[in-house]
């Protein structure tokens, strides 16, 4: 039976071709449909009245889009760190110190701190400076998909728990496969290092990703927009409330 067949024959399991790219990502048409908020075309392109995207495809989508989004920041990091011959975080620190010095001239303590940071950045690294810059830039590039993966899995776990309590019947796989498409507009955040257009692209990307996430949760789990918003916002509210409450309680107890 063809791996692309959607007919399930009893006793026969369709083979998964792990080397085929479509096993690991949805099609570009599906990703584009998600960006246009056409969820039927993105999640159920074969009109089978259920989510046909797999979690494996979702995982691949998040990883690939994360790596794509991190490309421009990686180039910017290399641009900064290679001429200095230092690891990226040190180069960023030195660059920040230089900018602070330019902004606040005449402050002696600031001058001392900034020059200390610049001296630290100028220290000879253990490996040749070029490799220190290159490897640290690649390491920070890998953090893009890892951060997105964390956001997708951890935040998703809270939301899926809430929607289940609210009475949704979707499976965990369906939920994660569908919500992976929210990473598509998030790719715009990779334009952040670009002057002028960067902050705007970041804002648009974050807003579109959030709206798309809400629409997907509504599509997959809950049909009601009010309950969907509650499920999506509750973990964020909790993440803000808990540290504030802990800090307040600590302050009141130690006063």
């Amino acid at each position: 039976m063809s791996a692309k067949s959607y007919i399930d024959l009893p006793g026969q399991r369709s083979k998964v071709d792990l080397l085929h790219w479509q096993t690991w990502t949805p099609t570009l048409a599906q990703i584009w449909a998600a960006c246009r908020f056409q969820l039927d075309d993105a999640l159920d392109p074969y009109e089978r009245k259920r989510v046909t995207v797999t979690m494996r495809q979702g995982l691949g989508l998040v990883m690939i889009l994360g790596l794509t989004a991190g490309l421009i920041p990686m180039i910017a990091n290399l641009w900064l760190a290679v001429p200095m011959g230092a690891a990226v975080p040190l180069a960023q620190l030195a660059n920040g110190a230089a900018e602070t010095l330019r902004a606040f001239t005449g402050s002696v303590p600031l001058d001392i701190a900034a020059h200390t940071v610049q001296t630290m950045a100028g220290l000879e690294p253990r490996m040749p400076g070029f490799f220190a810059a290159l490897l640290s830039a690649i390491g920070m590039w890998l953090n893009w998909p890892l951060t997105w993966l964390t956001l997708w899995i951890v935040y998703g776990a809270f939301v899926v728990g809430i929607v289940r309590i609210m009475g949704a019947h979707n499976t965990l796989e369906e939920y994660y496969a569908a919500t992976s498409f929210a990473a598509a507009p998030l790719t715009l955040t990779g334009l952040a290092p670009l002057p002028w257009i960067g902050p705007l692209a970041t804002l648009v990307g974050l807003t579109a990703a959030f709206v798309l996430y809400v629409q997907i949760v509504r599509y997959v789990a809950l049909r009601d927009i009010g309950r969907t918003l509650l499920a999506v916002l509750a973990p964020i509210a909790l993440a803000i409330f808990l540290p504030v409450a802990t800090a307040l309680a600590t302050y009141l107890l130690t006063r």
């Binding site: 690891a87 990226v88 975080p89 490897l135 640290s136 690649i138 390491g139 920070m140 890998l142 953090n143 890892l146 951060t147 993966l149 964390t150 899995i153 951890v154 776990a157 289940r164 965990l172």
Partner: protein, 111 residues
């Protein structure tokens, strides 16, 4: 290894008590997949690349939940409870050990 064995054994007992029908060997086999996300730690070979502990913990927990649900054919509510029980037991044990230590320290110090 010890964590996996403890989780599997406690979860197996809890699942059977909750009406699950899976065997011990299938529980051990399925819950071993909880360690699969740890493969991401390979990426931390690169300097400044970091895999979040929350990602590994939550992903492992979700895999554990699915493993228990599938192996023991439990409804989702019972599967969630069974998955949480080993963690709650570990937390309880840690709290007990900390309390015993605190009690001993308060009573007699390090002598």
């Amino acid at each position: 290894m010890i964590g996996w064995l403890l989780f599997s054994l406690i979860a197996y007992g809890a699942a059977r008590a909750a009406g699950g029908s899976g065997g011990l060997s299938s529980t051990l086999g399925a819950t071993a997949l909880m360690t699969a996300p740890n493969i991401l730690l390979l990426l931390t070979i690169m300097p400044f690349a970091a895999t979040s502990g929350a990602l590994l913990a939550v992903w492992g927990l979700l895999i554990g939940y699915r493993a228990i649900q599938v192996v023991h054919r439990l409804p989702w509510q019972k599967a969630v409870a069974v998955t949480i029980i080993p963690y709650a037991a570990a937390l309880g044990l840690l709290t007990l050990m900390a309390s015993v230590f605190a009690l001993g320290f308060t009573a007699g110090g390090y002598r």
